[in-house]
């Protein structure tokens, strides 16, 4: 008996229909359309042009970083690069909605967010040049190290938020993760934990449609914003390529979270315009049509159009181009001057307190090095 036959044989009695069923995906919140025109909602909210320009500026610089870093990788100056092109609005819009004291736990593709938090190009490129595992001081930047083991950072964020609550401060935590990472046990444990304990965490998922070669559609059985609500937190579904909408939605979520009502979730629809990494060949698994389609939804050009429409002077754009070119030069020279660590120093970075194995091995390493250097 095939499945079809079974289905046609019997129906669930109407009074026994399931009480809780998957609801359809909600429309995204959008202020600015792909062509740069405002939606009705966008019109009703109005645009603070100066502020919009500052968001636009950060997106443009982040895109430039991405372009330069890829070039550096192609020239052999970086071992690897993970591009964030296409996701600038999701990142800049969200991180700019936080207070400076709020802590951020990123995944590994949050370069635009990192720049916004003051992480320098040199710090950002350092791991990809093989010079460190994390180039920046996470506490000072209020921007934790990148986490490559997918989803693990969402639990760290949850614990950090628990600490803030215990300490009685009103800072909140935002954590970034991808559509693929959402399948990991850790992310779901974090959602449940934060909801059960009503902790001040904003879970920000950049659904960029792909986890390497796996499309979001085969990664999950329901839209992520719906899953989050099922764990007991409100969820927003936003056009992740609309920096103004992302900013507004993140502000709303942060407000909810800061007011002690527990965590919140944002699913931002965006697109990984490049391959997964500089080693990836996306042509193997996705079509040009899709890439073109999303190219038309680019977060940066849409803002350029809107800003032009709203009367931004060409001078502003020209100034930004110049700044961006300077930035490109800085990136390149910053990259080339990143220094490899001295290996013997690493022994001192493992433990905070003295450790005999570290001391012994450092001594052995140094002795060996001098011996070999001496040509013995």
């Amino acid at each position: 008996m095939s499945n079809k036959d079974v289905a046609s044989l019997e129906r669930i009695a109407p009074e026994l229909e399931p009480q809780s069923i998957p609801t359809p995906e909600r429309d995204v919140i959008r202020f600015v359309q792909s062509d740069g025109t405002l939606t009705e909602l966008g019109q009703s909210r109005g645009v603070d042009v100066g502020f919009a320009q500052s968001l636009y500026r950060e997106m443009v610089l982040a895109r430039r970083l991405d372009v330069e870093a890829l070039a550096l990788q192609r020239q052999g100056e970086l071992n690897l690069w993970l591009q964030c092109a296409g996701q600038e609005a999701a990142q800049v819009g969200s991180i700019r909605a936080l207070d400076a004291a709020d802590m951020v736990f990123p995944s590994y593709r949050e370069h635009a967010a990192a720049l916004s938090r003051g992480v320098t190009a040199s710090e950002l490129l350092s791991p990809w040049r093989g010079a460190s595992h994390a180039g920046w001081d996470g506490s000072a930047r209020r921007f934790h190290l990148y986490s490559l083991v997918l989803g693990t950072q969402t639990l760290h964020a949850t614990g950090f938020a628990a600490g803030s609550r215990l300490a009685g401060t009103d800072d909140i935590v935002l954590t970034y993760f991808g559509d693929g990472a959402a399948s990991q046990g850790d992310v779901n444990e974090a959602l449940n934990w934060a909801a059960a304990m009503k902790l001040p965490v904003v879970f920000f998922c950049q659904n960029n449609q792909w986890a390497i070669s796996t499309p979001s559609s085969s990664q999950m059985g329901a839209p992520l914003h719906q899953r989050a609500a099922g764990f007991g937190m409100p969820a927003w579904h936003v056009d992740g390529n609309d920096v103004l909408a992302v900013h507004a939605v993140t502000e709303a979520a942060a407000l909810h979270v800061r007011s002690g009502r527990g965590p919140a979730f944002i699913e931002a629809q965006t697109y990984r315009m490049a391959g997964h990494s500089s080693s990836d060949d996306p042509g193997r698994y996705r079509g040009a049509d899709e890439v073109t389609l999303w190219g038309g939804r680019d977060p940066i050009s849409r803002m350029a159009k809107l800003l032009g429409e709203l009367g931004t002077a060409e001078q502003f754009f020209a100034g930004l181009r110049a700044e961006s070119d300077d930035f490109a030069r800085d990136i390149r020279s910053a990259c080339l001057s990143i220094e490899r660590p001295r290996f013997e120093e690493l022994f001192g970075n493992v433990y905070a307190e003295p450790h005999p194995v570290m001391e012994r091995e450092r001594a052995e390493f140094c002795a060996l090095t001098s011996m070999l250097d001496a040509g013995v």
Binding site: S132, H133, A134, D137, G138, S139, H144, L145, V149, T152, T154, L155, H156, A157, T158, G159, F160, A161, A162, G163, S164, L166, A167, G185, D186, E189, A190, N192, W193, A196, M197, P341, L346, G348, N349, V350, Y351, A352, E353, H355, P356, V357
Partner: protein, 327 residues
């Protein structure tokens, strides 16, 4: 000087740590209202409140992962894993996150987290409740691994572990929770020091946690047969207290390592390899290992056949004593 059970000594040590530093928080499944399934945290939530002795959701990865976040926020979390066999869901958070975060951050971050694990068998428990998994953690750079064997060490070592700025995996010998002993007014050893018991002119037994009492019993039996067999209570599994270990091994020239974990790839292998590397000329026979057999922990009805016992330890001492190079 006070007489306490090992579990009671841990309870008292945790209380002292909570009193001494308000950044210390305990967290785990059922540790608050219930006081833990072994009552090690009994009364602590009542005394320090539900914010410092936290009943968590049932998720071990969550426990360790959120503890990391708490530590980054300035707290000093002490996590309880309910039983040894339930630590594996947290393995990634322990091995890839907790152990590596300081090194990954270039030495910037400090993770003063203790993970308490009631380990070992011998209590007639159902499956997954009698494992000895210290070797996994000892092989992981970035962790410190210790194992207490008596009330006095339990009391002092748990406080030292909590005071440590580094992550510590803290094994508690669950079948010794009810053993009584005296707790001294001062700690006489640092956290990572080993303790030599007896002289061991003829042979040395190396053990930790639940196996120390067994080793002492075997040493006493050997003594009746006229042999001087010393017992080294390792206390620290990573790092090893090499000076003490190698000294003792050299003096005896014959060494048997005892632990409950399966021998293949167990901590006994590291101890044997290290002793041999450093004391080759002083060894009169190869270092032998007595441990659990290399099978998953068996049903409780036959766990005594699985676990090292005095007969197996004495046979190993015998083999070591009677070893002849020509044989």
């Amino acid at each position: 000087m006070e007489t306490m059970t090992l579990g009671g000594a841990l309870n008292a040590g945790l209380r002292r740590a909570l009193e001494a530093d308000e950044r210390v928080v305990l967290m785990g499944e059922d540790i608050g209202r219930l006081g833990g399934v072994f009552r090690v945290t009994d009364g602590l939530q009542k005394q320090f409140g539900a914010n410092r002795v936290i009943d968590t959701p049932l998720a071990e990865s969550g426990i360790v992962g959120t503890a990391i976040g708490l530590a980054l926020r300035g707290f000093r979390p002490v996590c309880e894993i309910q039983f040894d066999g339930f630590v594996y869901p947290a393995f990634d958070q322990i091995v890839s996150q907790l152990a590596k975060l300081r090194a990954r951050s270039g030495g910037r971050l400090t993770l003063p987290i203790v993970i308490r694990i009631p380990g070992g068998g011998g209590i007639g428990a159902v499956e997954h409740h009698s494992e000895s998994n210290e070797a996994y953690f000892a092989h992981t750079a970035g962790l410190r691994v210790v194992s207490c064997s008596n009330p006095n060490d339990a009391f002092w070592m748990i406080q030292q572990a909590i005071a440590s700025e580094d992550p510590v995996i803290f094994f508690e010998p669950k079948r010794r929770y009810w053993d009584k002993g005296q707790v001294e007014p001062h700690a006489d050893l640092p956290l990572h020091g080993s303790r030599m018991l007896g002289r061991g002119d003829d042979a040395l037994l190396v053990a930790h946690g639940p196996s120390v009492a067994l080793a002492l019993a075997a040493a006493a039996a050997a003594h009746e047969d006229g042999y001087s067999v010393g017992v080294l209570d390792l206390r620290s599994l990573s790092p090893l207290d090499l000076p003490t270990l190698l000294d003792a091994a050299k003096r005896s020239g014959r060494v048997v390592v005892v632990h409950e974990a399966s021998t293949f790839g167990g901590i006994g292998a590291e101890i044997a390899a290290t002793i041999t590397e450093h004391c080759f000329a002083d060894l009169k026979s190869p270092v032998l290992r007595v441990g659990g057999y290399n099978i998953p922990y068996p049903p409780a009805g036959v766990e005594n056949e699985f676990l090292p016992d005095i007969d197996r330890v004495l046979v190993a001492i015998d083999r070591s004593l009677s070893f002849q190079v020509a044989s």
